[in-house]
């Protein structure tokens, strides 16, 4: 089957003065998928998204959004996309309703206003409140509403959950999933592995302006190590902890009641084994993005950075 790409990027290179931000980035995002663009701060995620919208111009590379070149057909690209900036700033002096109306007028799409009002209601967004009186979460809701109000074919979301509390984060992720279910292609950047793992179909990992890896969510899950510290009621010998699937024993304390493991992938085997042992408590730590990069480079023979 031939893949239809909503977004294609080849050899994208961008300089800011003498600083090179992107080094030949290649991406291909299929129609109707959620593509997570994972990378630490300053890795080039925002720069890539802003090139896709023709807000900044690259030095070299090929870009296609919905089949259009963003430089030659900038308006067509912006017509079919919904965008949520990483640092969302809204006109503080306007109220939600007038701001949404303004956005609807910019799109010359009156229908988008009624849908925006409907969305605002669903998100419990107070329409008559001034933007300056909204909480960070509610401002982000306005950002989501304006990005979705015209039923875009492609959503470009730059760290959509940044600075949100866990409940709002889950709500935003749910909205993104629903948009995908309606056929929208979603390209979203993040530096949080867990949320990318939760909703993305595929993941591109970018670091220092280069694509480090492009993997499926399953592969990310297997790369995604957890450090688990287990405390036992009584000492447990190492031979009882040997050969656990996906687990690597790291250390134990002097009394043998506290053991530390690295886990990658499914925890089923580990949990089954622990069920046979006198476990008092378990602490699990998610790895940082850097830990995942280290894993990627170990697998790759350190050759890609």
């Amino acid at each position: 089957m031939v893949d239809i790409y909503a977004i294609q990027v080849e050899g994208l290179t961008k300089f800011y003065g003498s600083f090179q931000a992107l080094f030949g980035v290649d991406l291909a995002i299929r129609e109707g998928e959620i593509y997570g663009f994972l990378g630490p701060n300053g890795s080039g995620k925002t720069t890539t998204i802003r090139c896709l919208l023709d807000q900044i111009r690259p030095a070299a590379g090929m870009l296609r959004v919905g089949g259009f070149d963003p430089q030659k057909n900038s308006r067509e690209v912006r017509r079919m996309t919904g965008y949520l900036p990483g640092e969302l700033h809204l006109d503080e002096k306007m109220n939600v309703k007038s701001l949404v109306k303004f956005f609807s007028n910019l799109r010359k799409n009156p229908a988008s206003f009624s849908y925006a009002c409907q969305l605002s209601e669903e998100l419990e967004l107070p329409l008559d409140t001034k933007i300056k009186n909204l909480s960070k979460g509610n401002k982000q809701k306005v950002g989501i509403v304006q990005a979705l109000m015209h039923h875009p074919r492609i959503l470009l979301l730059d760290e959509p959950t940044g600075g949100l509390d866990p409940m709002m984060r889950q709500l935003v992720l749910k909205i993104i999933s629903e948009a995908r279910d309606e056929g929208t292609t979603v390209f979203f950047s993040s530096h949080v592995i867990s949320e990318v793992e939760q909703i993305a179909d595929r993941v591109g990992i970018i670091r220092k302006g280069k694509i480090a890896s492009e993997i499926s969510t399953d592969e990310l899950f297997h790369l995604n190590m957890r450090r688990v510290v287990v405390r036992f009621d009584s000492p447990v010998s190492l031979d009882r902890l040997a050969g656990i699937e996906n687990a690597e024993h790291l250390s134990e304390n002097a009394t043998g009641t506290r053991h530390t493991f690295n886990l990658a992938g499914s925890m089923r085997g580990f949990i089954n084994r622990m069920a046979e042992l006198p476990v008092r408590e378990m602490d699990t730590e998610r790895p940082s993005l850097e830990d995942v990069f280290m894993r990627l480079y170990e697998d790759d023979g350190n050759g890609r950075d």
């Binding site: 003498s18 030095a59 912006r78």
Partner: protein
């Protein structure tokens, strides 16, 4: 374009009303004062003016007869108004694109299917209309009390000094909006523009008493500003169109720069015009397919 225009003009309503009312009141006050201190008092106002240092005289319109309406209005109103309104215009020019960019709003607005050219024209046109409205209110302030005043000026005649004022403000607006795009930040653009405004005012003013400054005064927009003297000397169309032309050329250059500009996200800043000099930036300008 209309959406951007109406959005921009709505944002300016406070400035238009606030400054407009202030200028109206100033006009009413001054025209009313003319009779009180010049016509009815019997005092030779010129005698008092001659006691001022020549440098001060130069700044307030030179050696004209202050007892005439043209001399009085020039000294009391039109001599310093471009400086005061100039600061307003420079500030507004800084907000026009770079202010919006630094607030992080431009990034979002230009993600909508709006042509940059339309966005530019909508914003600049709103600024033009707000300046016209401001000056119309100022005109009304001086025109309304004319009926009961001994100033022998017709309503149509009075438009001349305001057109001259418009021309110089438009010139400063054009220069400022261009500088705002060339400088690394809004603050830097506004500072340099204000410096240009102040230097232009003083160099031109002092050139009347210092021959060494005469050459430099030719580069000052104030050199081509008639104040209210077109009431007696006739309207200088060359100066008017010259000032408006300079403003327009600056705006056209800004338009080209804006069309190709890398929109910054809030907080960034760079000498974008100097980046033309770097080889890497030259690579930025093309090579995309």
């Amino acid at each position: 374009m209309w959406t951007i225009f109406s959005y921009s003009i709505r944002k300016k309503s406070g400035i238009i009303i606030g400054w407009g009312i202030g200028l109206m009141l100033l006009g009413i006050l001054l025209v009313s004062m003319y009779d009180m201190i010049i016509a009815d008092s019997g005092i030779d106002f010129n005698q008092y003016m001659e006691m001022l240092p020549p440098e001060m005289m130069a700044l307030f319109g030179g050696t004209a007869d202050f007892s005439t309406p043209a001399g009085f209005l020039s000294m009391e109103y039109f001599s310093y108004l471009p400086l005061i309104l100039g600061f307003v215009v420079v500030g507004q020019a800084g907000n026009l694109f770079v202010g919006l960019e630094e607030e992080g709003l431009l990034d979002l607005y230009l993600a909508y299917p709006v042509r940059r050219l339309n966005f530019f024209v909508g914003r600049v046109f709103a600024e033009f209309i707000s300046l016209v409205l401001l000056l119309m209110m100022a005109y009304l302030g001086t025109a309304i009390p004319l009926e009961g005043s001994s100033m022998d000026i017709g309503y149509v005649e009075l438009i001349g000094p305001f057109l001259s004022l418009f021309a110089i403000l438009y010139c400063f607006f054009g220069v400022s909006v261009l500088l705002s795009l060339l400088m690394p930040s809004r603050g830097a653009g506004v500072t340099v523009s204000n410096l240009f405004l102040i230097l232009s005012f003083f160099i031109n003013g002092f050139s009347g008493v210092n021959e060494n400054l005469e050459f430099f005064a030719k580069f000052s927009p104030f050199h081509y500003y008639q104040m209210a003297y077109n009431l007696v000397d006739g309207f200088n169309y060359e100066w008017f169109f010259g000032l408006v032309g300079v403003g327009l050329v600056c705006i056209l250059i800004t338009m080209v720069l804006f069309e190709r500009r890398d929109i910054r996200v809030s907080g960034e800043g760079s000498w974008q015009f100097l980046s033309f000099l770097s080889k890497k930036a030259k690579r930025n300008s093309g090579a995309i397919n």
